[in-house]
Amino acid sequence: MAKEKLKFAFYWAASCGGCEIAVLDINEKILDVIQIADIVFWPVAMDIKYKDVENMPDKYIDVCFFNGSIRTEEQEYMANLLRQKSKVLVAFGSCAHEGCIPGLANLHNRKEIFQKAYLESKSTVNPEKNVPKTKIEVKEGVLELPEFYDTVKTLDQTVEVDYYLPGCPPPVNLTIEALEAIAKNELPPKGSVLAPLKSVCDECPRKKEDKKISKIYRVYEKVPEPETCLLEQGIICMGPATRSGCGAQCLKVDMPCTGCGGPCPNSPEQGSAMISALASILGLEEEKEKYSDEEVEKLINQIKDPIGTFYMYSLPASILRRKVMKE
């Protein structure tokens, strides 16, 4: 008897669509996927309603790939529902894994975001000071909009997650490896991140010479040497604090890693791991036993926008999580 096909589900929450393109980028291998699995839920692609998922027996879905973060009540509901209906739930991509770039919205709340978009934006003319509402009476009847939450949450801040596929978006080879592991029933222990244990530095072909730096350059201020470590040239590169699997793609075009792969296995707080990596190589040009407060401040002040630099992809998942708002 032929082996029974697996049942896959795909769902997106708050995301940009890049994770869907990343699946498409496995190209002709998508034909192999259809060989081993039936796709039983895929709202963008198939005519299966939430109601049909609600009617599925618990654990009916073998593997659910969930991309995007959680920002609305509906997304929260679907995360819970799919958790209940799936044997294996995979947080697919940086948004589900860590909150990603849209998670930087946790530096603000709904009120501030609305204020900017609808009242203060340069091209907006809004003398009545209208902002979108959840229930609106129009001439012909009533329209409703879902509520916009103050905070972006990761998938595992919402439900239990079995595996994580990191990256913005996940690199094609990692997606293919994960699909192969599923097909062969060779998935690692639950809770694993489906990516190499190494850091981006381990995959980066650039030479490291254990040099100290005293000056930090912004990427546009300096044309880097093509073959040596960017960090050792004074350009902040998140490589030491970021999980590999991408093949150091950004470095191939002479740009630093900005950290989309998330933290390395042994230091799950990516931002602080990078701050510590930077602290170990940043210093004054002349060797000194002890730095004055003024000297330290001067060195540190070279680092602009530390939140956006060290937590570009991981703010919601970090120990910081969000900015505390005072009314």
Partner: protein, 484 residues
């Protein structure tokens, strides 16, 4: 009054939802297309490093990251008062061609095209890429997959990553192109020219060869007379990467031609309480509600908007096809919403031809790809995203941190027109309160022609959006639910 809700579960700006209100006699009174999601980029980009903007804003859309990446990079060129080197401009344009190739193929074969290739009345489970393969053959399916991948590969070579590239810098691009990679890109681009020609032939055979489709394209339900906007080069030809913004009126006459930095003099946005997306219109004409014509400031962008706003295409084969389209559809401008598909294929051909030209340019492998920027200030960057004109506007402080951001994204420009197209399609197709399955397809087709960003994820392999129509009586009690 009845209320009909079409709730397409789509992506990018979240789920799009259409509510159609019927009068007591069952005729369409009005329709609302609501976009129920917002992510707040204009707020949380404030305080970030200027050089991070091409990375941050590309996450607005993972389907068209290259458009945001370079709109941001160009805004930084302007803000830092630096002119990119000539080779850098060409490399950016080459990568841009790769992006247009990938995105237009995606739309034509995976999303919009199946409506025609498989047929608008075909069952929903067939109107998708698999249905296309079934109808056109597996070999063609493989060619589609291959050429879409070529577009992505071009971006990957030049940008580091295909989705969310890393190469844009004020004053240039981070890396030059070596000869080996140039040859690879040239080979792919030449193949894409052939594939674009094939796609046009397919369109001619299947769509234009069928009088029913042609009648549908020309029908009132799919006709909307508006202004059109697009970037043009010095000869008023279509250009994706650079140029001036040109606007033509509903009669096809030039109405405006302006430098991107002056966009605030020409475009304003209004806010409605029933949706999270804003409604742009032409300042000079003003907002006159959801109406077309010369007195209404509503304009359209994207493939048809660009072709209407320009005088022609800058490459040989694309220009030939441009002429054929206007001849067939009765001259300029073309107001048929469904002609977006044809325009899109003409642009695919142009992008492939232009990529070949750029590969043959001796300067393309020059290593002079960066000029160092000046002092930080304020700047506007404009490109033509696959879905239309895209504006990024930043103000930087003395540390080159972002002080202010304003964005008008491609689909937003089309939002007022999409609302009208959906309403008009519904008006043409709902009578006596009768809502049929075919209607759902037709209304969907009206907005899918624009390739709207909030439907981006339906670009996906099996490309169908589930829809729900809910019909309410005048007491707003649910009478009937139509689903597929």
């Amino acid at each position: 009054m009845k209320k009909v809700v079409i709730d397409p579960i789509t992506r990018l700006e979240g789920h799009g939802k259409i509510s159609i209100f019927l009068s007591d006699v069952g005729e369409v009174e009005n329709a609302y297309l609501q976009i129920p999601e917002l992510r707040g980029f204009e707020k949380f980009c404030i305080g970030r490093k200027a050089e991070h903007m091409p990375l941050l804003t590309s996450r607005i859309c993972g389907v068209c990251p290259v458009a945001h990446h370079f709109a941001a990079t160009k805004a930084l060129d302007a803000a830092f008062n630096v002119e990119p080197t000539s080779a850098a401009k060409k490399l950016r344009e080459l990568m841009y061609c790769g992006y247009i190739i990938y995105d237009h193929i995606l739309h034509f074969y995976y999303l919009g095209g199946p409506d025609f290739i498989v047929g608008p009345d075909a069952p929903p489970e067939k109107r998708n890429i698999l249905g296309v393969i079934e109808k056109a053959g597996l070999d063609i399916g493989k060619e589609v997959i291959k050429h879409r991948a070529y577009g992505q590969r071009i971006t990957e070579i030049l940008g580091g990553k295909a989705t969310h590239p890393a190469c844009g810098l004020p004053g240039g691009i981070s890396k030059s192109l070596n000869e080996e990679d140039r040859q690879e890109i040239e080979k792919m681009a030449i193949s894409c020219v052939e594939f674009a020609k094939f796609s046009l032939k397919l369109f001619h055979d299947i769509v234009l060869g069928n009088s029913r489709y042609v009648d549908m394209i020309k029908s009132d339900a799919y006709t909307l007379k508006t202004y059109y906007m697009g970037l043009v080069d010095v000869n008023n030809n279509v250009n994706f990467y650079d140029g001036k913004v040109r606007v033509v009126d509903p009669n096809g006459n030039e109405f405006l031609k302006f430098e991107p930095k002056d966009y605030l003099n020409h475009i304003v946005e209004r806010v409605e309480e029933w949706t999270y997306v804003k409604f742009p219109y032409l300042k000079k004409v003003g907002w006159k509600g959801y109406a077309g014509g010369e007195d209404s400031g509503i304009y359209r962008v994207g493939p048809l908007g660009r072709l209407n706003a320009a005088d022609g295409m800058d490459t040989l084969l694309a220009q030939e096809e441009y002429e054929v389209m206007y001849k067939t559809l009765g001259g300029k401008p073309v107001h048929s919403t469904l002609a977006f598909h044809w325009a899109r294929l003409i642009e695919l051909l142009y992008a492939a031809e232009r990529a070949v030209e750029l590969c043959k340019d001796p300067e393309i492998t020059s290593t002079k790809v960066r000029n160092l920027p000046g002092e930080p200030g304020e700047g506007v960057g404009v490109v033509e995203a696959a879905r239309g004109t895209l504006f990024h506007h930043y103000a930087l402080d003395k540390d080159a941190l972002v002080k202010d951001v304003n964005l008008i994204v491609a689909t937003t420009n089309n939002y007022p027109a999409i609302c009208m197209s959906v309403r008009d399609a519904a008006k043409g197709l709902i009578h006596d309160g009768k809502v049929s399955q075919g209607l759902l397809n037709m209304v969907e087709m009206a907005f899918r022609a624009y390739d709207p960003c909030f439907a981006c994820a339906s670009h996906f392999a099996i490309g169908q959006m589930p829809l729900t129509i809910e019909i309410y009586n005048h007491e707003k009690r649910l009478l009937k639910t139509v689903q597929r």
